[in-house]
């Protein structure tokens, strides 16, 4: 209560000359985290706009000490932390660093301040952010916010927050009310808060314990839902990754019969394209950095396609009908591409950042966050699939490709430029691989060796699906993804991977031609 | 005997057949020919993705018979041979070699051992091997791995190969890799390999394609001379050749038998003219 009074005093007293208590501000520079936390909590209780600015700067590592002056930078200008006025750049500066513990309190404090934002959406976001940081110290603030709150969406969240904060209230009645209120929640966080209340060692009151049990059961039921949905989603998302990684191969190998061991390196070319485009954007269009990814789509496609066409023209062309030798030659190409990337971009992985619109996720259920990058990739896989399907089935190029791969001499006779079609088709497959690489750059490493990790999986998908069958590849990729994810939950990642490989081996024994076998007289000749 | 009569004599599968795919070695000479019939096909259906390549096909070949099979493209001729030689398993129906051997339960090498030899539509010989070696490989002998490892060619076998070489007129090129032979020569070589195999039943898929007229006539003579000792089933488009063979003719259409009889009768059949000859 003292703190609150103090804060209220500050709140009433300070606006007159709008400055913070220098003693409090200086505590921020203390080496001891406890002091820092105390200072932050004091600042948060004030409704001074300077305090909010200061805390925000602190969370961004932007508060400095120079001698006796504590200042923070705001748009490159040093601002005095006590007065909130711009000052001359001090001679020296030491950044005030914060650790996780302080940061946690700070995030809560910032959210607390935002609870009084005029914009309801901001208040809602702040309230949600507070869900994981509620401490009994926040009760006064929350009470105030609950009273002031008018928005129908925000109010119940704040009530829940209050309930959370009250879980440690010494008054059993307050605890009981809080526990009952929390049954409505479905967040794993609430669950962890309620758990101690079911333990007789920590919770003496029987009624509260029983209520906590009931609430926990209600929450668990909701959580189980989320878990299973999550498993399906992760399976889908792994499947879509596998599909993107193998779709290009489904064309170059499946349709054209070229065993392209450099397929992984075509993925790498696509991923490095994303990196290159990102670098260009950083350099020339820093403002539009978030849009580098759409811009990288054609770049990835065409650079991989060009690499593919060059490969086809110089090497693969001479090896048609000799698939096992293509395997060796393309393996040579893959070595060259790997070392090329290493020479060009360095042996280290390079950083490809998710655009901000791909960061974070949708909280479908409190324990089921669907990350945006996964959702985007699933969508991307779908559109690439549609593109390939359209190209192969609805365009003249696709018609020619199918004609050439089925009967080369006949296609040549009826005027299909077979050599050009070969090059274009291989380029298409390589380009699709490039798109796959672009997608991979958003979730995995981008480095010279990245392609090697996908080559075995890609071949398995294509072979399992049935060579020459796009639909087969889709089913195989999704099937493998979901099976792998369910096994992983049950047996751990290592064993799951081994089991999946074993399943594929056994499956191919049973159906040597894959899921979508072609039957017929010459199907196995 | 007409086909219907033959079918009536069809053996009803005994209960003691081995499971499919089991590597049962069939001893040559085991074929039971007591009813004078070497091959029964009964009600065989094969479909590929819903398309019926064979549609309730029934056919029987007598011992020592020379049968010609004709029919337009897509009539199911090759598929029928695939079924007989174990390459394709029928969806339904029975295929018996002699009275006792259920062909649908045997694998290709077992069927070959039982005494069925097949010549492919496209001549298929071992192109890396010499003509001599091709015949040697085809020769009737124990073809298991262990025997192959320690196999030595004896004089009798050598003589037999030489005889066959002369018969198929390839004795001058015995040491040439088969891949270097002309199309017609390859056809002959494949026939020669069939003869080395000493089969009871020969399936010949377009054996004279790519041969000169002279060679064709010689082939016809050879086949006629073989009939009696062996049973032959010849698929051919060349009507002159079929006429020269002079055996019974079966017309296939859309996977089943359309007509059967000697060539003249068949050629006179209105339905045959419609679907095939009349075009």
């Amino acid at each position: 209560m003292k703190k609150l009074l103090f804060a209220l005093l500050l709140a009433c007293a300070l606006p007159a000359w709008s400055a913070l208590d220098p003693a409090v501000v200086h505590k921020l520079a203390d080496d001891d985290s406890d002091q820092k936390i105390a200072a932050i909590q004091q600042l948060a209780q004030s409704v001074d706009p300077v305090a909010e600015r200061l805390l925000k700067a602190l969370s961004e590592d932007g508060v400095y000490v120079s001698g006796d002056t504590v200042f923070f930078s705001e748009g490159d200008k040093p601002v005095d932390a006590v007065t909130g006025k711009v000052i001359a750049t001090p001679a020296s500066n030491d950044s005030i660093s914060i650790n996780n513990r302080v940061r946690g309190v700070l995030d809560g404090a910032l959210a607390g301040v935002k609870l009084f934002d005029p914009d309801a959406a901001v208040r809602l976001a702040a309230a949600r952010a507070l869900q994981e940081k509620v401490t009994p110290e926040l009760i006064p603030l929350l009470t105030r916010a609950a009273k002031a709150e008018t928005d129908a969406k925000v109010a119940p969240v704040i009530v829940q927050l209050l309930a959370q904060a009250n879980l440690k209230n010494p008054d059993p009645v307050a605890r009981l009310v809080a526990v009952q209120a929390l049954a409505e929640s479905a967040s794993p966080n609430t669950r962890s808060l309620l758990l101690p209340l079911t333990d007789p060692a920590t919770e003496k009151d029987d009624k509260v314990r029983a209520a906590a049990q009931t609430s926990l059961r209600a929450i668990d039921g909701k959580l189980a839902w989320g878990e299973n949905l999550g498993r399906v989603f992760t399976g889908l998302s792994l499947g879509s990754i596998l599909l993107l990684a193998s779709l290009g191969l489904a064309i170059t190998y499946g349709v054209m019969g070229v065993i392209n061991m450099a397929h992984g390196e075509l993925l790498m070319v696509g991923a490095y394209s994303a990196y290159a485009v990102q670098s260009l954007f950083r350099h020339y269009l820093p403002g539009a950095i978030d849009w580098y990814l759409p811009a990288a789509v054609p770049v990835a496609f065409f650079s991989a396609a060009i690499v593919g066409m060059v490969m086809e023209r110089t090497v693969i062309r001479w090896l048609y009908g000799r698939p096992l030798e293509t395997l060796l030659a393309t393996w040579g190409i893959s070595l060259i591409l790997i070392q090329g990337a290493r020479t060009l971009f360095g042996a280290q992985n390079v950083e490809v950042a998710n655009p901000s619109w791909m960061s974070g996720g949708i909280a479908l259920l409190p324990n089921l966050v669907l990350p945006w990058n996964r959702i985007v990739i699933i969508g991307f896989a779908l559109s690439v699939l549609l593109l390939v399907w359209g190209l192969m089935n609805k365009t003249r190029l696709g018609l020619f490709v199918r004609a050439v791969t089925q009967n080369r001499p006949m296609a040549g006779c009826v005027g299909v430029p077979t050599q050009r079609i070969d090059t274009l088709a291989f380029g298409l497959g390589a380009g699709i691989a490039g798109l796959g690489g672009l997608a991979l750059s958003q979730i995995a490493n981008v480095g010279p060796e990245m392609g090697q990790g996908y080559i075995v999986d890609s071949f398995l998908v294509v072979v399992l699906g049935g060579v020459g069958q796009l639909a087969g590849a889709v089913y195989a990729a999704l099937g493998l993804g979901i099976v792998a994810k369910f096994l992983e939950g049950w047996a751990g990642a290592v064993i799951a991977k081994i089991i999946v490989l074993a399943i594929v081996i056994v499956f191919i024994q049973r159906r040597p031609q894959g899921l979508f076998a072609l039957k017929g007289r010459f199907a196995d000749s | 005997m007409s086909t219907t009569e033959l079918i009536r004599e069809m053996p009803q599968g005994s209960g003691t057949e081995p499971a499919p795919g089991m590597a049962r070695v069939v001893q040559p000479g085991e074929v039971d020919l007591t009813h004078g019939v070497i091959l029964y096909l009964d009600d065989i259906t094969v479909s590929f993705d819903g398309f019926k390549a064979l549609n309730r096909l029934s056919l029987a070949i007598g011992v020592g018979e020379l049968r010609c099979i004709i029919g337009p493209n897509g009539a199911g001729k090759t598929t029928m041979m695939d079924v007989i030689t174990g390459k394709t398993r029928p969806d339904s129906g029975k295929a018996f070699f002699g009275q006792t051997l259920d062909l649908t339960r045997l694998r290709e090498p077992e069927i070959a051992h039982a005494g069925i030899g097949r010549k492919f539509q496209k001549p298929t010989v071992f192109e890396q091997h010499t003509v001599f070696e091709n015949l040697e490989l085809a020769m009737k002998t124990d073809k298991r791995v262990r025997k192959s490892l320690f196999f030595r060619l004896d004089d009798a076998a050598r003589d037999k190969i030489t005889d066959t070489l002369k018969l198929i007129r390839l004795d001058t090129v015995a040491d040439r890799p088969a891949g270097l032979l002309s199309h017609g020569q390859k056809q002959w070589l494949e026939i020669g390999m069939l003869l080395m195999q000493e089969p009871k039943l020969l399936l010949l898929d377009e054996p004279v394609a790519g041969m000169t007229d002279d060679e064709t006539m010689r082939t016809a003579e050879l086949f006629v001379s073989l009939a009696g000792k062996h049973s032959l089933m010849v698929v051919e488009h060349d009507m002159a050749f079929v006429e020269k063979l002079g055996g019974k003719v079966t017309v296939l259409h859309e996977g089943s038998v359309l007509a059967e009889g000697d060539l003249a009768t068949v050629q006179a059949d209105q339905r045959v003219i419609e679907v095939y000859l009349g075009r």
Binding site: Y253, G257, I259, V315, G321, R322, P323, L324, E325, T326, L327, L328, A329, W331, G332, I336, I338, R402, N407, Q452, I455, V456, L460, V463, G468, V494, K497, L501, I505, I508, Q509, P512, Q513, L518, R521, F522, A523, S525 | F48, F51, N73, G74, G76, T78, R107, P109, A112, H113, R118, Q128, H129, E133, E136, L137, A138, K143, S148, L149, R152, G179
Partner: protein, 407 residues
């Protein structure tokens, strides 16, 4: 016309071939030991232990290459999983070597070190008996052969061939690699087996032991070569090639390809096992990375570079690629992958029959110019048949336009 077995064994190689083999064995069994042990280290004629171990390693690779060539060159089965059999042989013998360390490990326990610090109290069942040399030697042959037999039986039974077969062998070795990486599998995880002390009671680092190991490796290679040569020139070899070139024809004349393929496949795996067992004491380590997909592809590359379908070619390829690798990694450490990559492309594009094919071409060229009287002599493989690249079965056709397929 009956000939004795010895007589038949003798004709498997030409007289020139036997002479070359004898010369090779003389160098390896007498020359190298003499130059390594008797010639002082300072002398330019001294063969250093580096050369001895490198030679031993390369000869092991050559042995693997011959095994690979038997299945790929002569039976048309491209395995991308031969590294697995090699590693299994290596692990089987490595178990023996680990047990031979006895209590000299850093924990002075009878258990191998990695088991001690993982808190294993007793040997797992599959380690039982591994301290007996002959049991280890048996495992070296039996484990790869058994794995190959079981896998091959089902694969060949299901008529899996060509690229499909290659891909699933790759999946097999990859799965095995993951399994062996696990500490819990009981084979030392990623670190594998290393720091061997002795073999049959002799120190592994003693120069004499090294020389003996090299000699045994040379003998194994020579023996394998003669055996392989005998196999491929027998009727069995002809049937194998027949199966490779026209499998259905071979079936329709009564050969069951299953057993032919399975025999050569299992034999090849066992030979790889021997190579692995000889490799481990010479390089001093075995770890699961030998089972990586890339390692197995490299084996195929040796054979392709040397010349598929020629046993000498396989040996030449393994030696050439590995020496090139050893040399490049020292002279051009940054660029050796470029060289290696270009080498593979060039060989497949311009030398479809590998170095041996090039040699034959050069020879033919000289012969034409009438200079063949003196040099070069007949190649080791007089009757080796050219393996045209077209022999490789075509890829699985996509939508075959056959007369009996509806449009």
């Amino acid at each position: 016309m009956r000939t004795s077995f010895t007589e038949r064994a003798l004709v498997t190689l030409s007289p020139g071939g036997w002479r070359a083999l004898a010369a090779f064995l003389a160098v390896m069994l007498m020359g190298v030991p003499l130059l390594h042990l008797a010639v002082p280290a300072g002398s330019p004629l001294h063969v250093s232990d580096y050369v001895v171990t490198l030679t031993g390693k390369v000869l092991c690779y050559a042995l693997v290459a011959v095994a690979m060539d038997l299945v790929w060159g002569y039976a048309g089965i491209l395995s991308l999983g031969h590294g697995l059999f090699f590693a299994l042989g290596g692990y089987a013998f490595g178990m023996y070597l680990m047990r031979q360390i006895g209590t000299d490990g850093s924990y002075h326990s009878t258990l191998p070190d990695f088991m001690v610090f993982l808190d294993w109290k007793t040997l797992p069942w599959y380690w039982q008996g591994s301290d007996h040399f002959w049991w280890a030697a048996f495992l070296v042959l039996a484990v790869p052969a058994l794995v190959a037999f079981v896998f091959g039986y089902f694969a060949f039974q299901s008529r899996i061939k060509g690229v499909y077969f290659s891909i699933i062998t790759q999946a097999l070795t990859y799965a095995a690699m993951l399994l062996f990486f696990r500490n819990e599998t009981g084979f030392g995880g990623n670190n594998g087996f290393t720091d061997f002390k002795r073999i049959l009671g002799y120190s592994v680092t003693a120069p004499e032991t090294r020389v003996v190991l090299l000699g045994v490796t040379s003998l194994a290679l020579a023996g394998t070569l003669v055996l392989a040569r005998w196999l491929v020139t027998s009727r069995f070899g002809r049937v194998l090639a027949a199966v490779r070139d026209a499998e259905s024809r071979a079936m329709f004349i009564g050969y069951n390809p299953l057993w032919y393929k399975l025999f050569i496949w299992t034999l090849s795996a066992a030979l790889c096992g021997i190579a692995g067992a000889l490799y481990v004491p010479q390089v001093g380590i075995i770890n699961p990375s030998e089972m990586s997909a890339a390692a197995s592809i490299e084996i195929a590359v040796w054979v392709a570079v040397g010349g598929r379908g020629s046993l000498i070619g396989a040996i030449v390829g393994a030696i050439a690629v590995n020496l090139a690798k050893s040399w490049f990694t020292v002279s051009f450490p940054q660029y050796w992958l470029f060289f290696l990559g270009f080498l593979f492309i060039a060989v497949t594009l311009f030398l479809p029959e590998g170095l041996v094919g090039l040699w034959r071409r050069v020879q033919a060229h000289w012969a034409k110019r009438g200079e063949a009287m003196e040099w070069p002599p007949a190649p080791l493989e007089e009757t080796a048949k050219p393996v045209a690249s077209t022999v490789v079965p075509p890829p699985v056709p996509v939508v075959p336009l056959t007369e009996e397929r509806p449009a």
